[in-house]
């Protein structure tokens, strides 16, 4: 069984600065950390690896400063780590990113499962996992709480606003994960030592046989038309008192404002 985990480096919150003029993130000055959602993906991969003796391959698209994060993935559970890096990838939106990931994943076939965090803590779109699945032409299951294999099928538990949904799929699939885990394993010391002496695989646009115009900024249909700072004009009020009395007051106010019928 082969599991591919795609991870992303996101700016450490405490090191992020916002440009006061353009309101965009000053990424170059921020330190990178593993996207917290991807930490879940790695933990789930580690658990599946233990359970099914699966091979885990971690990939990441980004500049060379994501190398420590790939090494971390190796020290947590990955058997092989690959950096997808090329100047041509810079400025990619979710579609252009998914093209690179899909192509790399294709090169790693056959595989049973592609795991990603639900979304990235910086972009927050949650689009890359399903887009990658679409480009690969395989099913995608999003917002997965837990998954396991049964009779060569993948059973995924998916959290919805109405409750838990149990889905069944034939591998391979792409799953975006949002599990509620009470424990994440730390890196293994032995593997941290080992990975320092390992040569890192780096795949460029050429290695992936991708044409430049579909990549990076030029291959990204998304355009940011503007960024603005949200101003909160209304002042909040805090009411204190007995619950019954407060409830009555609230009902009166809602009626006054027309949210409740008088």
């Amino acid at each position: 069984m082969r599991i591919i985990v795609s991870i992303k480096g996101v700016p450490k919150l405490e090191t992020v600065k916002v440009d006061p003029e353009t309101h965009t993130l000053r990424r170059e000055s921020a330190e990178l950390m593993l996207n917290p959602f991807d930490r879940s993906a790695l933990e789930i991969a580690a658990r599946l690896k233990e359970k099914y003796h699966a091979e885990v391959i971690a990939i990441s698209m980004g500049p060379p400063n994501v190398i420590p994060l790939l090494r971390e993935a190796y020290s947590i559970c990955a058997d092989r780590i690959i950096l997808l890096s090329d100047r041509a990838f810079a400025g990619a939106d979710t579609l252009a990113t998914s093209r690179v990931l899909a192509q790399a994943i294709k090169k790693l076939a056959p595989f049973d499962l592609v795991l990603m965090g639900l979304k990235s803590a910086d972009g927050e779109t949650a689009q890359v996992p399903p887009e990658t699945a679409a480009l690969l032409g395989i099913p995608s299951i999003t917002n997965v709480k837990d998954l396991f294999f049964e009779d060569k099928k993948i059973i995924a538990l998916r959290e919805t606003e109405y409750g838990l949904e149990e889905l069944e799929a034939e591998p391979p699939i792409v799953a975006s994960l949002y599990p509620k885990l009470d424990y994440f394993r730390p890196p293994s010391f032995k593997r941290l030592l080992e990975v320092k002496n390992r040569e890192l695989e780096i795949w460029s646009a050429k290695d992936l046989e991708l044409s430049i115009e579909k990549l990076g900024l030029s291959g990204s249909p998304t355009r940011v038309s503007g960024v603005f700072e949200k101003k909160f004009a209304d002042k909040g009020e805090i009411w204190e008192g007995e619950p019954e009395e407060l409830a009555k007051r609230l009902i009166t106010l809602l009626k006054e404002k027309g949210f409740l019928k008088a």
């Binding site: 293994s188 010391f189 941290l192 030592l193």
Partner: protein, 384 residues
Amino acid sequence: MLVKYSLTEEQSLLVELIKRIGEEYIAPFALEWDEKESFDNRPIRALADADLFGIIVPKEYGGLGMGVFEMCLAVEWLSYYCAGVSTTYAASFLGAYPLILFGNEKQKEKYLPDIARGKKLCAFALTEPQAGSDAFGIKTTARKEGDYYVLNGVKQWITNGGLADINIVIALTDPAKGPRGASAFIVEKGDPGFSAGKKEKKLGLRSSVTTDLIFNDCKIPADRLLSREGMGFMVALKTLDYARCGAGAQALGVAQAALEVSIKHAKKRIQFGQPVYNFQAVSHTFAEMTMRLEASRALVYQVAKFIDAGAKDFSGASAMAKCFATDQAMWICERAIQMMGGYGYMRDYPVQKFFRDVKCLQIYEGTNEIQKNVIARELSKVYK
């Protein structure tokens, strides 16, 4: 730290990983564990997953094959976050050392790989209700019956009691011979007639578990004997010689944390229109705390490296490292409270926890009075 040590790349990585585990798995919860006197397995599991139970286990048994110095670094920085957690961790080494030092090939193969992976926790059981500092006064017996030994007696205040899968127990095989009639045994969790008593309520180290171990016709196979009959105290004393540096290292971690918390407070706390650190009575106290801490660290590190370099007689050295560092840490933690005044005394702040935790370090693994006996004894061997 005003004195910097040049660590190897491996050692730096080790400290970095311990700090990471401390920040993520310990720091947010340590005060709560202390308050509720509860043991949480998560930091132990994290240390196991990080391979850090294998520090002193030889590589051929799946460990990292590192020395006493690396063990001290790990214990020091773990103690910086919680001395209760580091007690659970270090006590496991106390149970592992007898196997590493005295186990036969079969015993090593059976137990060490699981210890290295952190799958099995260890405990070391010497103390009894009437035999504390007077360890030779133990009453627990081990009677040979065919291919078995049958143990009877009670061990007291055993760290990891009931949690440990592997318990090293010192018992008398020949009570008539006194101390020379003691032997060391491996007792596994689940052995018939073996149980743990109630969890003790402690002043500090409250996130660790301490219980009695009760042996009621506890029958174990004869091959659980460590070394030979009569070697019990040899096993125990050698183990303690190795492990004592670890207790000294715990003191360093706690004292470092106490110093940091209190100095940050003193630099921010405004009285008489200025930070209290500006007053000489305060700043000189910090100067004194730092000197004592750095002297302790230098001694603990040096003794650990002395042992790792292959020293044969190091009872006196390890007793000094343990006694000096823990006494200084007790003083540092007491001063840290004083430097924070009322804040130091409140249970919302961690220094009172450091103060309660560090007290035990002067008592366990041989009281500091016993350490001075050891130092004096070794000294008189040199200056005859």
